[in-house]
Structure formats: C-alpha cells, structure tokens
C-alpha cells in the first residue's frame, strides 16, 4: 500500500512516499542510494544484507518498509562518526577481516549490533552470534579476532 514512510537512517530523518510492502534492502539500494548493504540470498540465510533496526541486527531482504516506520535504521554507511571509523571497522582492516568484501557490510552490522548489547562477549559467544552470516572467502578466523579486539576497545557505541 502506498503511503508516507518516515524513519531515521544513519541518524538523519528520511521520508518516502511509496509502497510500504517494498523491501528495505532494495529501497536502501535504489531510492536511497546506499549500496553498501548487499543482496546475497534474498531469503535471510546469508546475512550479507544485515542492517540494524533500533539497535537489533535484521535481514533487510526480509524487512518491509512498513516494519521500519518510525524506527532508527543504521547501515554500514552510518558506522563512521565525524570522519572516524568505528573501532570495529578499524579492527576489520587491522586483522584483514575480509577478502572480497561482499559479506563485510553484513558482518560489520551483525557484530556492531551484537557489541551494543553485549560489550564484552567471549570468543564462543562471538562465534555463535556470527554463525548466521556467511563468508565464502574464509575470513572467519580474522573476523572473530577483529570483533574481539573491537570489543576490548569498547567498539560499537
């Protein structure tokens, strides 16, 4: 149904006049021109499209616009603050927590939302949390190390 949709996106208000059954992933990637969030499987099983909605990691390919009405949406483009990388982003660079980079936005957002809720997780807890996100290149060990380091530095405000 076409209606007015309003939400906060990376800290700024967004208003759209469009079909509220449209999928958040594609609205981000087309109307809103934020292509950092990726399509991977379209069925919520790979995590490449992960964004945070009110601080919780969700699969944007399984999220309608109606579901984010009035909410606070953060995408990978919203992690930098004042021109500085989030400690999590810096840790991914420092540990080489990516190869092709295609799953990276989803990995970052899943980890970012997780660290907000659980600032000092154990390694096992990180592994369990990240298990829902797929990486084909095999950067897993380094991604876990990056999240551990970011957690130690109080990453993800």
């Amino acid at each position: 149904m076409k209606r007015s949709i309003q939400f906060r996106l990376n800290g700024k208000p967004v208003a759209l006049d469009t079909d509220d059954e449209r999928t958040l992933l594609w609205v981000l990637r087309t109307d809103l021109d934020l292509t950092g969030t990726k399509y991977g499987c379209g069925e919520g099983v790979c995590g490449a499209c992960t964004v945070a909605v009110d601080g919780t990691a969700v699969r944007s390919c399984q999220t309608t616009l109606a579901a984010v009405q009035g909410k606070n949406v953060v995408t990978v483009e919203g992690l930098e603050r004042g021109g500085h990388l989030d400690p999590l982003q810096q840790a991914f660079i420092d540990h080489g927590g990516f190869q092709c980079g295609y799953c990276t936005s989803g990995m970052l957002m899943n980890a970012w939302a997780f660290l907000q809720k659980q600032p000092h997780p154990s390694r096992d807890a990180i592994v369990q949390e990240m298990d829902a996100n797929l990486c084909r290149c095999g950067a897993h060990q380094r991604i876990v190390a990056a999240i551990q380091e970011a957690a130690g530095k109080g990453g993800a405000r």
Binding site: R22, T23, W26, R29, T30, D33, L34, T35, G36, T37, K38, Y39, G40, C41, G42, E43, V45, C46, A48, T75, V76, E77, L79, E80, L85, Q89, Q90, F92, I93, D94, G96, F98, Q99, C100, G101, Y102, C103, T104, S105, L108, V127, Q128, M130, D131, A132, N133, L134, C135, R136, C137, G138, A139, H140, Q141, R142, I143, V144
Partner: protein, 716 residues
Amino acid sequence: MRKHNANVDADDLHRAALFSNTRDGRGFTRRSFNKLLGGGIVVLITTKPATLFAQRRAYPEDLNAYLRIDENGRVTLFSGKIEMGQGVHTSLAQMAAEELGVSLDSMTMVMGDTDQCPWDQGTWGSQSTRMFGPAVRAAAAEARAVLMNLAAKKLGVAREKLVVENGVVSVAGDASRKVTYGELAKGKQIARLVDEKATLRMVKEFKVIGHSAKRLDGLEKVTGRAQYAGDIRRPGMLYARILRPPAHGATRKSLDTSKAKAMSGVTVVEKDDLVAVLHADPEAAGHALTLIKAEWDQPAAAFDTESVGDFFVKNGGEAEVRTTRGDVSSVTANVVRSTFRTGYLAHAPMEPHTAVAELKDGKMTVWAGTQTPFGARTRIAQTLAVDEKNVRVITPFVGGGFGGKSAVNQAVEAARLAQITGRPVMVAWTRGEEFFFDTFGPAAVVKIASAVDDQGKITSWDYQVYAAGDRSAEVLYDVPNVSVKSYLGRGGGARVHPFAVGPWRAPGAATNVFGRESQIDIMAAAAKIDPLEFRLRNASDARLRRVLKAAAEAFGWKAAPGPSGQGRAIAVGFDAGSYCALAAEVAVDRATGTIAVKRVVAAQDMGLVINPDGAKMQIEGCITMGLGYVLSEELNFKGGAIADRNFDTYELPRFAAVPHIETLLISNDDLAPQGGGEPAIVPMGAVIANAVFDATGVRMLRLPMTRERVLAAMKA
C-alpha cells in the same frame, strides 16, 4: 658505456623523454628525439596506444601500458587482472612500489578495464603474482631506471650518486638536492631504456616485497564504499529479470507474456531464446517475471547425485595417458584397490553474477563482476556482432570468483538487453539463478590400485581419474611402476554433464589429491607405518619433504601407525608451483556422525612471498572454503533439474565449523613467486578423511563426508 650528450640540457632531455599527453602517442618522433639526443640514453615509444593495447596472448613490453606517474607523485598501476578477494590489488601494487622506489600508499590500482589496462587472459590458476607479477616488476624497474637518468641530468650528478626513497630522488649525503618522480614524469608517458637493461631489486634490498602490507582495499570495503557491479547506477537504468527454464535441457513449448506487458512501467523483451522483463525498480521487475506463463518439456534424467559416479565409469571412453613408467602389471602382490568419489560443487560466491550494460554513442560499456574482462569483451562483441573496439568492459571489485566468474553469461545478457532496449540495463542473477547457471565443479571418480613392499616402499601406482582432469594427478612419491590415466578430461563437457561445468578453485586437483593422499594413508596403515614416516620414506623431493616436516613439527606430530586414536593426520599437495602440507586434528561424534575439525596447521612453500599476511589469508581461506567440499557441499540434482537453489540446503562452512588455523610460510626466496590462491585447498579432503580414519578406524571414500555417510560407514 652510456653516452651523454653535453649539448642537450636536462630540460630538453626531460621534454624529449616524455610524451606530451598522458597515454597518448602525440609528441616527438623517434627521429626528432634521436636528433635531439644525438643517440643517447632513451628512445621514445614509437608504438601508438592503439597498437600497444592490441597485443594479444602476451603482456605488452611497453612500461607505459602498466604505469602512470602523476605530477603529485601518485603512481597508477594498470592491470588486466581483477580483484575478487585474493588480494592481488595489494600485492601487485607492492611489486610496482618496490621496483619503482615509492611508498605503497602512493599507489592507485586500475584493474580489469579493457580500455585502460594491458590485455590479460583472465584471473585464474593462481597466476597473477607468478605470471603477471614479473611484467609489473620489469615495467616498474625500467621506469625507475629512466626516472633516475632524468634525475641525474636535472640534478647534474651521476646516476650512481643518487638514491630514491618514497618517490623522491636525492643526492646521496645531500638530501636538499632532490627531485620527485612526480616532477620528472608529470603524468606523461615514460620513454624506454635503450642501451641498458633495468635490473630488479635484490631480495636483501626489499623494503615492500616480502613485508606484510595491510590491504589497500580495506577502507573502501569496511565503509561500504567499495563498488561491485550491482552498485553501478546509470541514468535511466532498468533492472532486468529473465525467464529461466525449470531444468537444464528443457525446451519451451508455450509462452504468455500478456499479463507482464499489462503491468505499468514494464518493458518485455522477447527475442529468440531471450525473454525478459525490465523495470526501473528491481522488485517490480521480479514481480513482472512471475506474471509470465510458460510451459516446458524436460528431457529424462540420465543420472542423479547418487548414480553419477557409475555413469562416468561406464561412459569413460578412451583414456588420456598422462604418465607411464615401468609396468604396473608386473606388480601383483599386496595390491590395494580403492575407489574415491566427489560430487558437483557450486562456487557460491557471495556476490551473484551481475552486470550493467550501457550503449552510448555506438560504444557498449559493460560493468561486470568477472574474472575475464577481455574474454567478456570478445564474447559480447561476437554476440552483438560489433567490433571489439566498440565494447569496453570495466571490472569493479568482484565479490568472490573461485573460477565461477570466468563465465560471463550475465554480461552478455545485459549487453543484449541494452542493445535491444536502448536503455542501460542491469542483470543481477538471483541466488537461485546463481545456483542454476553456475559452471559447477564436476563430480568425479578416482580409482587407484597400488602396492607396497615389506620395506614400506611403494612399488606400483595404477591411477585412473574420471571427469576431474589430471591437474595434481602426479604421484609425487618415488614409485618405479606408474600409470596415470584420465578419462573424460576435466568435466568432459556437454557430452557428459547435464549442466555447465567449469573450473572450481584448483580445478580437479582437490579430487586427485583426495584420492592420492587417502590411498597413501591406506597403504601406510596396511604396512603399520606412521603416515608421516611412510610419506618421507617414499619421497625424495626436497620441497615436498620440507613442507611435510615443517607442518608435522608445528603440529606437534606424535608418530604412530593409524588408526592411532589421536584423530590427527597429514596430507600434502603440489599445485600452482607451490607445495602445501596440512596437518589436522578432528573429533568424530559416533552417535551423530558429526566431524568437528579442531585444528589445521599449514606449511606452504610458495617461493618468494610478496605479501606474507596476504598469503596467509589465502591459505586460511583455502582451508575454510575447503571444509565445505569436505563436510557438507554437494550439488543435489536429477538430470538437468537442480535441487539446491540457495544456502539453506547447499551448506557453506559457517563460523562454528571453522577450526583453529595456523599457517607457516617456508622461506624460499631464491625461487620466483609461485601460486598462492589455490594450493592449500587441495589437500583438505585427504587430511580430514585421514584424520577421521585415525580417530575411528573408518575409511571415508566419498566427499562430502556428511553425517549420514559417516554413520553409514561406521555401521558397515
């Protein structure tokens, strides 16, 4: 001796040595230049860019095909290779930076753009560093020599008195007398050396090569700014969805597009085999596709997931003989016979095949996620019946390839639709399309009959491989009687398979090494000899022995014949010029059949290593990706109908499955750089199967070793 002409001042020389326009042949001719110089240090390039880029099947000799140095000192390296995660974006820059004498931060990479980069066959086979690397280093070394000559003139001192650091040339002992590369080159073409050959830096001089560098693509990739083909936006662009058959080999018997045509904003294309719907909104295009009605005839299935191996063996046809040494039929005592099987594998890159095509002023530009931009250009030009010069392929970052993006059908589809509609078009395969139109790694069978004498020496090796090809099919060990035969080539093409097959990371090698290194373990156990000791007893190859010993030592190997109950094993491969030994530890849950891989130690000899941390990332990636084909990945199908269409049933390794991985690079700087993207994935099947045997005494002969198969094997 080099002749300097006193009548030519530094500025004249400078002007003469550089062309007037960036990457453009206008300016001095060879004749005017030689007149100016009186026959001297450098000559101008007489080839025009058009001919410079027309060279095929070889890398250009002209350094200007690879390098440009801007006035601000930034160095751009042009590479026909592409970046798909393997890290050559960084390691190629390291090679150029080293030979030029500039910092790595001053490098910019332009990769896989057919209008800007030197021709390249494709990014595969772990070849970027070992094949393209030497061309980059030679070009950069030559540029450095030319720039040093120019600097010597400008500063009025002999070249031998100059030093270069971070792109600044200065007089040794007087840093105030200096000139930068940027001031010398000014973004123009650099003349070539005539009477000397540029020398490469020696290992002991290295400041960039051999030092771990953080990846240059890191910032873009952690901020979401890195662009992939699907992130390209063109004015007026339409998103296309294409009608697909329910099974490979199906033929369409009816088509009704009327409802799709009635939908607002939809363009329907029906041309020969191509039926597509296009819309400015990708979801709307997807909806329009569901409105198309089509009926199909499907051919009967010749075989399926379970019967494919028998089908290959029955239909193997004539063998290609790879090796014949001694006489395998002369050995009849203690012959051990084994048959190994592997399934079809999907590449399953996280980025599905995607391309954007735009026809503008008679030129088709295609942005494609591809491992073969130049091959894509050729195919697009042929399909559209246009000259190749009217097609440009640009390769943004590629979201994983593993061999699967050597095929470029999505780029051809986008170009066809752009030509038909006159609008920029994106074709982005869904995950379901990716799992259907992938060029799968072929299922295969390996049959081995081998024998060992009472001294623990292998006496005979009779090897037959079906459909995996003969990459890494060599016996590697010292065996007097050897026969290696390959049936159906690698894949055997359309005459055998119900769908497209193609190269899958180290094509066929993992299958061959799964067979070989399992059989070695089987013989070691039969001879009651520790599997490491058995390998060393039968191997004289120094590099092979070195990686085996290094992996075992780092692992903390405790010698014992198998099955020792430790759940540990070793396996080794030789691929893409590199040796890689893996030692692994597993735990097997006898109740569920679940294999937990706890630890993998890798020792790899890949010659000179350009970026040690980057090389380790590739080894870790190989081991992690390898877990998939070893434990869970196998494409389920019946004839041309593919059952696995997403990650819910085709299971990639996830975080909880990844073991602790330790990597060891064997120092071998005297050997030129060898392959790094594939070797470590090759021994994964055997090392895990051997570890399962060591833990349980049960021998797994088929990959993947699913829970069901492990349980069945333990009951047998």
